[in-house]
């Protein structure tokens, strides 16, 4: 069956509208209106109650900052580990490489809860339980395998010859990393950064176990709302929750603009 261009455009907008734009708009409207009742006359009663309840939540701002801090540190550690392990797996040949490759994926195969329970005892002994550093470390478990995979593929598609060319022209390891590797790995870096940040932001159970209630992230404040608050408040909270990665995205994009040889005014392939 052949689609005409106009049909394609129409189906694109229909799918985007129904699956993406409508839910977002619906959520925004919901956060400003009182709950609607079925079998009643359809009337929208606008209110700011949802947002005022949310903003009066004592721990909201501090939880947001803690989530941002933990997420940022998790992302940074993921990048350091992912870039080095990904590069090694992409370019170096060594004994046990395939075993190493499998081991890196193991955290995704084992139930995260089981790992967290086991690690918890170790964390208590090391004095890392109930601290944000402990939470950062446990957040590495569900994120590192993805980072290594994504950045490894990034290095594979970059190819070793490009890096050798840079070296041959006089670049040392540091200059090459800054001028060639980072700019050319930008798509892989973006994927890694947002995936790991969103995974970290959404962790509830492992944060609760390792954080022991002392480390209050946004997820810790958000989940109790699911049962108690009204759908208006919940909608406002969901938007707030979604704004955090968007804010982080903007910060990251600004930082990425400072990489060498970036020209925001030209589109490159």
């Amino acid at each position: 069956m052949q689609y005409k261009p106009r049909m394609k455009t129409a189906s694109f907008w229909f799918l985007t509208g129904s699956l993406f734009l409508f839910p977002v708009l619906f959520l925004i409207v919901k956060s400003f209106t009182l709950p609607w009742r079925y079998q009643a006359d359809f009337h929208m009663h606008f209110t700011l109650r949802g947002w005022s309840t949310l903003l009066s939540e004592n721990q909201l701002i501090s939880a947001t900052f803690i989530s941002l801090l933990i997420g940022a540190v998790v992302v940074l550690l993921n990048l350091i580990i992912g870039l080095s392990a990904g590069k090694a797996l992409a370019f170096y040949q060594f004994k046990g490489k395939s075993i190493m490759d499998t081991l890196f994926l193991l955290p995704l195969i084992f139930p995260l809860l089981a790992i967290a329970m086991g690690v918890h005892i170790a964390m208590i002994r090391l004095g890392l339980a109930d601290s944000w550093i402990g939470v950062v470390l446990i957040h590495l478990v569900p994120t590192i395998p993805y980072s290594i995979k994504i950045l490894r593929n990034g290095y594979v598609s970059l190819g070793s010859a490009m890096l050798e060319q840079s070296t041959s022209l006089g670049a040392n390891v540091r200059s090459r990393f800054l001028t060639i590797e980072l700019p050319l790995l930008k798509p892989a870096l973006r994927s890694t950064i947002f995936l790991t940040f969103v995974i970290s932001l959404s962790q509830y159970v492992i944060t609760a176990i390792i954080g022991g209630g002392n480390v209050v992230t946004l997820a810790m404040v958000y989940f109790p709302f699911l049962q108690s608050a009204s759908s208006t408040v919940l909608a406002a909270f969901s938007i707030w929750f979604a704004l955090v990665p968007i804010l982080f995205y903007l910060i990251v994009e600004i930082i990425l603009c400072f990489l060498p040889y970036q020209s925001p005014w030209r589109i490159k392939t």
């Binding site: 490009m162 050798e164 070296t167 041959s168 006089g170 670049a171 050319l184 040889y261």
Partner: protein, 328 residues
């Protein structure tokens, strides 16, 4: 080592674990000279180039440039630049940034970098493309920029690893002549690696035939072509019929006959396999069953496929390989 040599390679060897890639390689180049290294795939010539560039360490031997031993220098500190088979332009940089890239590590100021890069872009005939990105250029243009980028850092030695292999035949021919002229105009000392003997002849002041991890013979293209020192060079680089380990006949001294003759010193039964037309002449590909070899000879005779013919040569045409194989 001669007094005039600018580049000297002494007893260079390279092994990976138990596998010897090349051993005891010796070579010398004077300043501004182009040496073509030609050899079959897997002969070790690309590894030799990688070792010269510093991307791989030599297992043994010395590499001297302008009386300075650079064997221990890392690739980024060696006054050597390598042009790869692919242009490998940095896709996130403009053409100007690409050409100026190496100069940033030589602490050249930004304005001066741009000026020098611009001069080279003009020289390679791509004026007006400074602000373009690599994907906007054709394969040939990209390879020219790649060469300009390597020349920009003013290396003492430039290494070219089959840089035309990804180009179409027409463009390849044009590029050979153009690159040679450019290198000569810059008085650049260069080593050019290829598996194409015609390209080697065209590019190099001298050619080095490389096989089994060593130079089989180094000399001017004419010298190596006319006086091969061993059966491999005679087969791979020259057009010769190798009779045994000691004797060969240049194909220019062979001729085809329909009959046998008592006058000819050498007579070999052959079968016509097919014919090709090159430069206005007819060439026949013949199968010499007694030697298990195929040779190509020109002839004005009208022969059909499958015809039985005799390949002949006079006694003076048979030549001997030098007993002490002079490898320079």
């Amino acid at each position: 080592m001669t007094q005039s040599s600018f580049i000297t390679l002494q007893n260079a060897s390279k092994s990976f674990a138990d596998t010897v890639i090349f051993k005891h390689v010796q070579a010398q180049l004077s300043k501004g000279e182009i040496l073509s290294i030609v050899g079959p795939s897997g002969s070790g010539k690309t590894t030799l180039l990688r070792c010269l560039s510093g991307l791989e360490p030599f297992s043994a031997g010395d590499f001297i440039i302008d009386n300075q031993n650079v064997t221990k220098l890392t690739a980024n500190k060696r006054p050597v630049s390598l042009v790869f088979q692919q242009a490998l332009l940095f896709p996130h940089m403009t053409i100007l940034d690409n050409v100026a890239y190496g100069l940033t590590f030589q602490h050249v100021k930004k304005k001066e970098r741009a000026k020098q890069a611009q001069e080279l872009i003009d020289k390679v005939g791509l004026k007006g493309y400074e602000k373009s990105f690599p994907h906007e250029l054709s394969g040939g243009q990209q390879q020219r920029i790649s060469l300009a980028r390597s020349l920009a850092i003013s290396p003492d030695l430039i290494l070219l690893d089959e840089p035309f292999s990804s180009l179409d035949p027409q463009l390849r021919h044009e590029m050979r002549d153009w690159v040679r002229k450019l290198l000569k105009s810059q008085q650049m000392t260069a080593i050019f690696v290829t598996h194409d003997r015609e390209e080697a002849m065209q590019m190099g002041d001298r050619v080095g035939v490389f096989n089994d991890g060593s130079f089989q013979q180094i000399g001017t293209p004419q010298d190596v072509y006319q006086r091969p020192v061993n059966p491999f060079v005679a087969t791979f680089f020259s057009d010769c019929l190798v009779l045994d380990d000691h004797k060969y006949v240049p194909v220019s001294h062979l001729f085809i006959s329909n009959n046998t003759s008592n006058d000819a010193h050498l007579q070999l039964e052959a079968i016509v396999q097919n014919q090709v037309f090159i430069h206005g002449e007819t060439f026949y590909q013949l199968w010499v069953a007694s030697m298990n070899k195929r040779i190509t000879l020109p002839s004005s005779l009208s022969l059909h496929e499958g015809a039985n013919v005799t390949v002949m040569a006079n006694a003076e045409a048979v030549q001997l390989f030098p007993e002490d194989e002079i490898k320079e």
